[in-house]
């Protein structure tokens, strides 16, 4: 945008100069500064309202919780109590006495593992269900029932099966996030326009080429919708699962803080959980946008 605008401006300036050499016109430069100003305005419009709301909410929180005998700490106390944790997230005193970075990273590793498995299995099953009418008839009712089971309800069963916390947590992530991936992938596959199938038939793509060159790109917007819902659910499930299995992880950190009555630490951990969840969602959304550029609009 900027480039063309400047170019046109230069052209206009030169033609004006050659047509009337007496008037020495210095090429004006307002558009660029104007563009910056506009960008700054747009950013301000987006950033200022949430900042104002956050400031107001913090103020209300402070006022409500500052009274003596209040059950929850005000923000000022939260900050004072958790300053060490905020400033040094990397300490490691052995056992479970670790900085928040290590807890978050342990949780993220579990999510990464479980979520990757569910992405692979989910897309594969989704393709199967989307492509084959018989697979859909057989599997869809099963999926519809299984997907309503709350994540934590799977935990005792997986603990019984794996006899260990780590694989159980990963299994809970897997089983939680797989359903939206399967269902959205299947819808995407079913919605591939007949035109694309005809093109593939005329060109005589074999099934593997059809899968890679037509199916996956055509269904990509749907697949990424499923992946995005899936990552959100994984992050929801991991915190709850870690509270029960113990060890290192942000969920366990919260539970541990509760047992030691460190309410401020719980609040800090909640902030981190929220921010990490937000970043994960944006990451998948951004990846989806990058991969499906050109596909979305036809």
């Amino acid at each position: 945008m900027n480039m063309t605008a400047t170019k046109i401006e230069i052209e206009a300036a030169t033609t004006a100069a050659s047509a009337a050499p007496v008037v020495a016109m210095t090429p004006k430069r307002p558009p660029r500064s104007e563009a910056y100003a506009r960008m700054a305005r747009e950013t301000a419009v987006r950033v200022i309202p949430p900042l104002v709301v956050i400031a107001l909410l913090t103020l209300v929180w402070e006022l409500v919780c500052r009274r003596a005998g209040s059950a929850l700490p005000p923000p000022s106390k939260v900050f004072k109590d958790t300053k060490e944790l905020i400033l040094d997230p990397f300490f490691d005193h052995g056992g479970i006495d670790k900085g928040l970075f290590w807890h978050l990273s342990a949780s993220l590793q579990r999510v990464a593992f479980g979520y990757s498995l569910s992405a692979i299995a989910g897309i594969a099953l989704g393709v199967l269900v989307g492509q084959s009418v018989w697979a859909m008839r057989g599997l869809d009712p099963l999926f519809q029932v299984l997907r309503t089971i709350p994540p934590l309800a799977w935990l005792p069963l997986s603990l019984a099966a794996f006899r260990d916390g780590q694989p159980s947590a990963i299994f809970v992530i897997f089983i939680t996030s797989i359903w939206p991936i399967i269902i959205n992938t299947a819808v995407g596959i079913r919605n591939i326009p007949q035109d694309y199938r005809n093109v593939a038939a005329v060109v005589q793509l074999n099934p593997l080429e059809f899968f890679a060159k037509i199916m996956i790109p055509a269904a990509a917007p749907y697949i990424f919708t499923g992946l995005r819902i899936g990552i959100g659910l994984s992050w929801l499930a991991i915190v709850a699962a870690e509270m029960l299995i113990g060890g290192v992880g942000i969920g366990f950190f919260i539970w541990d803080a509760w047992n030691s009555s460190h309410i401020s630490e719980i609040i800090l951990a909640l902030f981190y959980v929220g921010i990490v969840g937000f970043v994960l969602d944006r990451l998948i959304a951004g990846l989806g946008k990058f991969v499906t550029r050109g596909t979305a609009q036809n």
Binding site: Y196, N198, V202, V203, Q204, A218, G294, N298
Partner: protein, 264 residues
């Protein structure tokens, strides 16, 4: 007359549960090599179904399609289709869309460099080489259809099937593209079968016009030879007696003898 493409007693019956509709009845047609044949009829008469049967995308209920005396009943690049709504893959560039077919058809017979040159050659034929790295969403409807034609031509089809290729375009773009197709036909001598519902287009482009009766059970009502010399010039033909007579014949067929009856 040597039959290059032969439609032999084709019937098509669609069944949905207990109900069945006969769409096409006893379609017989032979097309010579290098001929340009149009199939014209009201919408719903089954002309697109007929094209799909020839392309192998739909099976005939009885009868069959013979290409060079061999039966063809599955889709293949020897009967490349230019689809009505271009059907370019939106995630591929113009070049990649054409290359997709070229890579399959010439996988064994051409080297990578030759295939690349062949893709560019075909894009040049339709004057789209300049847009090779654009995506379909970045080019106009007429350009998309040009790329669709290039994709089909690049497969070196024995018969080129055009499914209302200009239907979705505005009148000016359509005229321009019709001229391009005429020039390509002149230059390459392809055998072309085109579905259309535009009388002028049919008369201008075709050697023969196949007129279909209304469905259900559509048949070939009449076949009209268009004895106009090539190359044909759109402006000169506007006052040409033969052209007008052919046009009149098709119009009479469509609007008097086989008037389109709206399904109540």
């Amino acid at each position: 007359m040597t039959a290059y493409l032969k439609l032999d007693h084709i019937d098509k019956i669609f069944t949905r549960g207990a109900a069945s509709t006969e769409v096409l009845k006893d379609i017989n047609l032979t097309i010579e090599k290098g001929e340009y044949v149009s199939i014209i009829g009201h919408s719903g008469c089954g002309k697109s179904t007929l094209l799909n049967i020839i392309a192998g995308l739909t099976g005939a209920s009885t009868g069959g399609v013979l290409l060079e005396n061999r039966e063809v009943n599955s889709p293949g690049p020897d009967r490349a289709v230019v689809f009505q709504n271009h059907s370019l893959l939106p995630w591929l560039t113009v070049y990649e869309n054409v290359r997709l077919g070229v890579d399959k058809v010439f996988a064994k017979t051409k080297s990578r460099a030759e295939r690349d040159a062949w893709v560019m050659h075909n894009l040049n034929l339709v004057q789209m080489a300049h847009a090779r790295d654009k995506r379909p969403s970045e080019i106009s409807g007429g350009m998309k259809q040009r790329v669709g034609i290039a994709r089909a031509l690049a497969m070196e089809p024995k018969v080129l099937l055009l499914d209302e290729p200009f239907g979705a375009l505005d009148a000016l773009t359509r005229a321009h593209l019709q001229d391009s197709v005429m020039a390509l036909h002149q230059k390459l001598g392809n055998t072309i079968l085109m579905i259309t519902h535009d009388v002028d287009e049919a008369v201008l482009l075709s050697d023969r016009i196949v007129m279909m009766t209304n469905g259900p059970s559509a048949r070939i009502g009449e076949v009209l030879e268009v004895p106009l010399a090539r190359p044909r010039k759109r402006l000169e033909l506007a006052t040409n007696a033969t052209y007008l007579k052919c046009r009149q014949r098709v119009l009479e067929f469509l609007y008097e003898r086989h008037r389109f009856v709206e399904a109540a």
